[in-house]
Symmetry: C2
Subunit: 202 residues, 2 copies
DNA sequence: TTGCCTATTGGTCACACACCCAATAACGTG
DNA sequence: CACGTTATTGGGTGTGTGACCAATAGGCAA
């Protein structure tokens, strides 16, 4: 006698169920990629029928975009949180956290999303939104540093853009073997140069 | 009366047929993405049965990797051909050609391949190979420039890596709307700095 | 010309996907 | 307690994929 397949249906509050779905989708997105975020896959993880996911996300693409957005927003808050610390300290924290296994997963996710944006307009819009969030948050920190004369840069927005481009360039290699040291250091080096900091500060 | 579906079978030399298949797959890869390189799709483009593609590429993944490799190799030869020109001229030609619609397609392809490498080991190996080709070719040009004192850089290989990372960073945005000017200029700026050239040289 | 090799066909199989819909059961409200 | 809303199920449809295979026919060599 196998354990009962628990055909009991548990009815939850709509909002709770929805966020539960998004959370499960986000886990799949982060660990296995956005292509693996399917109605079946998420339903299976939640021990629920695929039709239920369809009920909350009539178009599967919306779930994918939402899962991406939720994951990336959480990561931004973790890497560059609102804080009383000095801009320099915040940057140190930022680059300190931006290494290691977990960050690689997020890099993979960005790469994934940027490629998939080619085919999925909803995801594309979400990527643009989150990209702008990052740029704005980074620009604010840099502007603060310029105002307090800890940084030396002509234009905070331009500096933010360049730092982000450098980071995106490095994370491009996340799926293809080892990242050469010269490439890995490029992001930090770029930041130090753009912010007018001595080498080795960050 | 529709035109006859031409059920006549044309038997070609194996090598010719094979390269014909790779060429068709490369076109699909460049215009519609590596995910669209399927047995059926390529067969349809050639007016042939899917089984025939299977005959030449028993594993579909091999065709995908081959199509990517062929496309990228051709692009490298076009952008950075063996030449009698000076290193500076070759760089000017390089960045001159590295803009416009066609190059965007190649950027998309790289992004595509780098993401897909996450799941497909054969493609991953091919990406690494082509990446090394690019790095080697670029390093050679830079080393030439250093030897003839047109460039000023400590390490040709490191300079090449940094320039490539910057370019990859910029091309990251190819699928997501407009590329901000500050980002677009970053690749050229990086090259000028790494090669010890005055701004605006390239 | 005969006969072999294999390029090529035509079809099938199993799988995974999104989407749709009718039936059902849980929950809140009267 | 009865009723209506809706979260949830179960199943079906259509499409796309790679892989596999037996039968066929084109071309080359003896």
């Amino acid at each position: 006698m196998t354990s009962s397949p628990s055909p009991q249906r548990i009815r939850k509050n709509a909002e709770d169920r929805r966020s539960e779905i998004v959370r499960a989708a986000a886990v799949v997105a982060l660990t296995e990629g956005l292509e693996s975020v399917t109605l079946r896959r998420v339903a299976e993880d939640l021990g629920v029928r695929p039709g239920l996911i369809s009920h909350y996300f009539p178009a599967a693409e919306d779930l994918v975009a939402t899962a991406f957005g939720a994951t990336v927003a959480a990561e931004l808050d973790e890497l560059l949180p609102p804080s009383e610390a000095t801009p320099l300290e915040r940057f140190r924290r930022f680059f300190g956290a931006a290494i290691g296994e977990k960050f690689d997963d997020v890099s993979r996710l960005w790469l994934n999303a940027r490629h998939l944006s080619r085919y999925r307009p909803v995801l594309c819009a979400e990527v643009n939104r989150r990209q702008d969030d990052w740029h704005a948050r980074l620009t604010a920190v840099i502007a603060d540093g310029i105002a307090t004369e800890q940084f030396n840069a002509a234009d905070a927005g331009v500096a933010a853009t360049r730092i982000l481009v450098a980071m995106d360039g490095v994370s491009t290699y996340v799926n293809v073997g080892e990242i050469p040291p010269a490439a890995a250091a490029f992001a930090v080096t770029t930041a130090e140069r753009e912010l007018g900091l001595p080498i080795g500060t960050l």
